[in-house]
């Protein structure tokens, strides 16, 4: 067990709620403080399986210091696990996303034995226990009768789970007091209240903080992108489900009408065999056009992503299947007009013709991009409204408000 952050042990510059004042305004911050007041000194523990890397750790890294700053007695604990445990939980993760899974009783035993070991080392006597994702789900066995409020926060898509793995997990999940999902589509039929918390972005992170124009120029210099002509950009892993070839086809249609460039940038190809194959295919498809920039980013390149998004004229997210698709919220936060597929969580972020434009095909994507390039005033309006939508619904501070509301709802 590792205590990552608690009331006494924090390291480095952690954000405080007042750091968000210039972005959100005094009224919003006062509102958050008012919601937190009845929770002062109440104990909360957040538990997940990794301190670094991955979206959950990224969220907790911000959320926990902010809750501490509001006077809540919050801790973040990371469960211990050996290589065998993480091999099993990776297989579970893939199976819960719908992959086939060769069921093995040993795997379930390994899962349960690590959960049992962590029950001994993690103090689970907080008033609110929030368990993130499947890995620590069986910690609920430590709960004394009706003690505390136990909440299972599921960050993954459970719309098509492998039944064997889900039935095993459900035995534990159904004993929680509430579950939280990122989209209604990801939820399950469970005998407990299920809440919807959208994933969120942090406006102060390197990926989203404001950048000076000179910094953007500097970050873009290695990529030889011409900022004087329109730039269409899709930021995503080189994955067939993100349809990068479809993006190139849409760009070629647009190019007949407007002299523009296409940027396809993403990370993760080097440690993913399929990603490397897709990257090769994309490079081949783009090879005859110097205005297509295929950029392989490091797995974690927040400033580059920020600069590329800010330099773009239109952001594309032409996924064939998508989880929530937070790159859309990142683009909207930067007031960029977005053309995206109506899949997964994208229609929650893109309200068609209000906060962006939705498309269902290569031709539709091309048409919507042409429309935005021809009507910059509409592009500006969509970007402004998209920014407002993110500010209201998809920021880390909104996530914090939701947790406060959920904790308060248990006290009433």
């Amino acid at each position: 067990m590792t205590t990552v952050l608690n009331g006494h042990a924090t390291s480095g510059r952690t954000p405080t709620i007042d750091d968000y004042l210039p972005l959100l305004g005094r009224a919003e911050i006062d509102g958050i403080r008012a919601l937190a007041r009845p929770l002062k000194d109440r104990s909360v523990v957040m538990i997940n399986s990794t301190a670094v890397g991955g979206g959950v750790a990224e969220i907790l890294n911000r959320l926990v210091p902010l809750a501490l700053d509001l006077g809540i007695g919050i801790r973040w604990e990371v469960m211990d696990g050996g290589a065998d445990f993480f091999r099993v939980t990776k297989a579970f993760h893939n199976a819960l996303h719908g992959d086939s899974y060769p069921s093995s009783p040993d795997d379930f035993e390994i899962f349960l034995s690590y959960n049992a070991r962590n029950r001994e080392s993690i103090a689970l006597d907080s008033e609110f226990v929030v368990v993130h994702d499947p890995q620590p789900a069986a910690l609920i066995d430590a709960r004394r009768e009706h003690a505390g409020h136990w909440i299972w926060r599921c960050h993954i898509d459970l719309s098509r789970p492998n039944e064997t793995v889900w039935q095993f997990l459900e035995r534990y999940v159904s004993r929680y007091d509430a579950a939280i999902f990122s989209s209604p589509v990801f939820s399950r039929q469970l005998p407990l209240p299920q809440y919807l918390f959208y994933p969120s972005i942090d406006p102060l992170s390197d990926k989203n903080k404001p950048l000076d124009d000179e910094v953007i120029d500097l970050m873009l210099k290695p990529f030889a992108i011409d900022r004087s002509r329109p730039i269409l950009t899709q930021i995503s892993r080189f994955d067939r489900l993100k349809d990068p070839i479809g993006v190139i086809r849409a760009y070629r249609i647009v190019k007949r009408y407007v002299d523009c460039q296409l940027v396809l940038a993403g990370g993760g190809a080097s440690d993913d065999p399929e990603g490397a194959t897709v990257l090769k295919e994309v490079r081949r498809a783009a090879s005859d056009d110097p205005d297509i920039h295929v950029i392989e980013l490091a797995a974690w390149a927040p400033l580059e992503v920020n600069a590329l998004q800010r330099a773009s004229t239109v952001i594309i997210q032409k996924s064939l299947r998508e989880g929530f698709g937070l790159t859309v919220a990142e683009a909207l936060w930067k007031k960029k007009p977005v053309v995206a597929s109506a899949v997964g969580g994208i229609p929650i972020q893109i309200i068609h013709k209000h906060t962006g434009l939705l498309a269902h095909s290569v031709e539709g994507t091309a048409y919507q991009i042409r429309y935005l390039l021809a009507h910059p005033d509409i592009a500006v309006r969509l970007g402004e409204q998209g920014h407002a939508h993110v500010k209201e619904n998809f920021l880390i501070t909104n996530n914090l408000r939701q947790y406060l509301a959920l904790f308060l709802s248990f006290l009433r």
Binding site: G25, R26, A27, E28, D30, G31, A34, L35, R37, P38, F181, P184, V185, S187, Q189, P193, Q194, Y195, L196, A342, P347, I351, H352, K353, H354, L358, H360, Q385, A388, H389, E392, N393, R401, Q402, L404, A405, L406, L408, S409, R412
Partner: protein, 219 residues
Amino acid sequence: MKTAAKPFDFYTVAALTRVGNQVACTLAELHAGLQNCSDASIFHHTFQTLGSHHFLTEGFSNDFAQWVLTSTNRGDLAEQLGSLDVRDYLSIAELRTDLTRIVGDYCAAHASIVNQSALEPFWFCEGLEVNAPLGRSAATLPEFREGLGQLSHAAFYFHFISSRMRLQLRTNDFSLWLAKELDLPALAERVNRIDIYTNTLDGARAVMLRLIAREVGNA
């Protein structure tokens, strides 16, 4: 200028969305869902959505209308659903009756398309509001104006929009207090008439502040 015997206490609110197990993939299923879903679900998709989409003023009214437009491409039905004004209703039951009637009439008149699959399903969710006092109150009109200017969108939404259902009256927290405690029924009525569908919440508040400033100036 009158001092209220009972001051106005400003609150904020946070909304939780509960996912139900009811889904509509066709207009016929939407019709059935509207009849069977909980009151909290009707509240969420009409009242709460105004709060979370407060920055939109054109063509966004409620989740049902938006889904009909974008997922079933039925602009005429979306228009009818979008024209409902939550301020006309004293209860969720009345609002449900009208929503159900509009969709039901449309289904009856367009029998051939009511079972066509929508692009995306509609998930019936439920809203739950948790409020907390901001620790600020007002006893006079100038104090009220100052407090109003300091409210977040959520707090303004709570007092001006969601209060209508809580009060089961054709009014809102602000108008009720202005009329009852400050004896300003004309101002209360003007405040109540501010259009929440053609104004953003910020816009509605700006109109309200102007009305109050005029009243303070006249006093």
